[in-house]
């Protein structure tokens, strides 16, 4: 007997691979058993579907060879059941002569491959090796994927904390400076502090957005799938931004149609998206201007439109506004945002299955249109 090949061993253990043979012919069962025991496998045998199912559930073999034509439960049926119940088990359909059609069908039902009769012990061994290798790789890939996700999750959390802490300290120090300076500092000094503070806030925002975008990109961001009241979500953003609209003399008009469909998703992210867009509007709309927010159903979708009467975006810049760090440079660029706000918005909207579009006319205003699939109540 050849030295044990690590590729056969059950992953993470030193145990022999376990193979289940399900065939109504005694000769087949004993022949396969002998052939595979030769290469260091533990072989279980069953003479029909029912016994096969029982053994599979009890022993969770690494792989099973299932005969297509059996009395009682057919091989196809068995494969369908096993692939659902024990997905980690690799299934091979043993097919009769000239039944390629069923062989292909078996793959659709969950078999990894098929082995046409008649086959030699060597052919069986080769097939088994292939199957076990495949299984080991799948398990390894899953393990690595999980490990990577965990590491990234931990990394993201760690980085976010590490990056936020110094910013918190700096901002608190600026607060202290403002307090102790008070009358001693002239307006210019105070203004410098304000500028520093604003930039740091922008940096903090950028970190938040970057982290969320990273999470989405790596698939570790799993938005909730709650059913949300469209009006409720919009109102939260509107409440957040009304004080600044009042302060800047901007009129805020809301039109939410009464029977607008619900949204599906993550409330917090969506609130942030709307707050971001409305917030941008407040930055670029002069006093006396207006921001209009509307929501209505369009077929099975929810359409939300946020438009302002602000300075607008030049036509040649419009296609790029969702790009990371793209800023429409203006001469009077007072409000330096994170540069990731709209990138973030687009990612969140798309991860909710929605679309976001912007249209604008310089000197007249900008309109953002967001379309989301309406919530479908599960039956």
């Amino acid at each position: 007997m050849s030295a044990r090949n690590w590729a056969f061993d059950r992953p993470m253990t030193d145990q022999k691979p376990v193979i289940l043979i399900i065939d109504d012919e005694e000769l087949m069962r004993s022949g396969c058993k002998q052939a595979l025991e030769r290469i260091g496998c533990t072989v279980l045998t069953a003479k029909d579907g029912a016994e096969g199912l029982r053994l599979a559930r009890e022993h969770k073999p690494d792989a099973a060879f299932v005969d297509f034509k059996m009395p009682g439960m057919s091989g196809m049926e068995l494969i369908e059941i096993l692939s659902k119940e024990i997905p980690e088990m690799v299934l091979i359909m043993i097919t009769g002569y000239a039944s390629i059609g069923s062989a292909v069908e078996s793959i659709h039902k969950g078999a990894f491959d098929f082995l046409p009769k008649p086959f030699s012990p060597d052919q069986l061994r080769t097939a088994t090796r292939r199957v076990l290798e495949h299984r080991n790789m799948k398990i390894e890939a899953n393990r690595l994927r999980e490990e990577k996700a965990q590491m990234e999750k931990g990394f993201i959390t760690f980085v976010s904390h590490e990056m936020r802490s110094p910013l918190v300290v700096i901002r608190q120090s600026i607060e202290a400076l403002k307090m102790i300076g008070e009358d001693r500092f002239d307006d210019q000094v105070r203004e410098l502090f304000e500028k520093c503070d604003r930039r740091i806030k922008g940096l903090e925002e950028m970190i938040e957005h970057w982290l969320d975008i990273s999470r989405i990109g790596q698939g570790t961001f799993t938005p909730k799938q709650d059913s949300l009241s469209t009006a409720g979500v919009l109102e939260r953003s509107i409440d957040e931004l009304s004080p600044i609209c009042r302060k800047n003399g901007i009129d805020l008009e809301t039109t939410i149609s009464e029977n607008v469909l619900k949204l599906t998703g993550d409330e917090e992210s969506l609130v942030r998206v709307f707050s971001n867009i409305i917030g941008n509007a407040t930055k670029y709309t002069p006093p006396g201007g207006k921001i209009s927010i509307s929501a209505r159903s369009e077929g099975r979708s929810v359409k939300i439109v946020i438009s302002d009467t602000g300075k607008g975006i030049p036509e040649d810049k419009l296609p790029y506004i969702f790009d990371p760090f793209y800023r429409v440079k203006g001469k009077d660029e007072v409000h330096r945002g994170s540069g990731l706000g709209l990138t973030y918005c687009k990612k969140i909207v798309e991860s909710h299955g929605g679309k976001i579009q912007a249209s604008s006319k310089e000197g007249e205003g900008t309109t953002f249109e967001l379309t989301f699939p309406g919530h479908i109540d599960s039956v």
Partner: protein, 130 residues
């Protein structure tokens, strides 16, 4: 003339302690600092301040909680005002720390960084000054 009211600040970040101290001193308070939970509790007992501000994000989250519990279980600490400081929660940027009902009593939850005027106003409300 009334003696200055005493405030104890417990936070593992020295720079944050420094900044907070300056703000509170500007408000006319005498400020004591502790860089960790153990020192914080000891100082509470020895100094007997009128109010304490405790950082909930020291080393481990449970350290802040433990300090809170220990102070509340002292004679002087039972009813005096205690504020807790939280930074942004690690789990999500907009989910801030809110103590559940069975927590030792917390008079206010502050979020770092705290605006100078706000801090002085809140402290003033508790200690009846300004």
């Amino acid at each position: 003339m009334d003696a200055k009211k005493k405030i104890l600040v417990i936070d593992d970040d020295k720079d944050l302690l420094f900044a907070t101290k300056l703000i509170l001193e500007k408000g006319g308070y005498e400020v004591f600092l502790a860089e960790d939970g153990k020192t914080g509790v000891e100082m509470w007992k020895s100094v007997s301040p009128d109010l304490a501000i405790i950082d909930m994000m020291m080393e481990t989250w449970s350290e802040g909680f433990s300090v809170l519990e220990k102070i509340r279980s002292t004679e002087t600490g039972r009813d005096r005002p205690l504020f807790v400081l939280s930074a942004v929660d690690l789990q999500g940027p907009y989910q801030s720390f809110q103590p559940p009902d069975n927590y030792p009593k917390v008079n206010r939850v502050l979020h770092k960084p705290v605006k100078g005027e706000d801090l002085l106003r809140f402290v003033g409300e508790e200690l009846g000054i300004r």
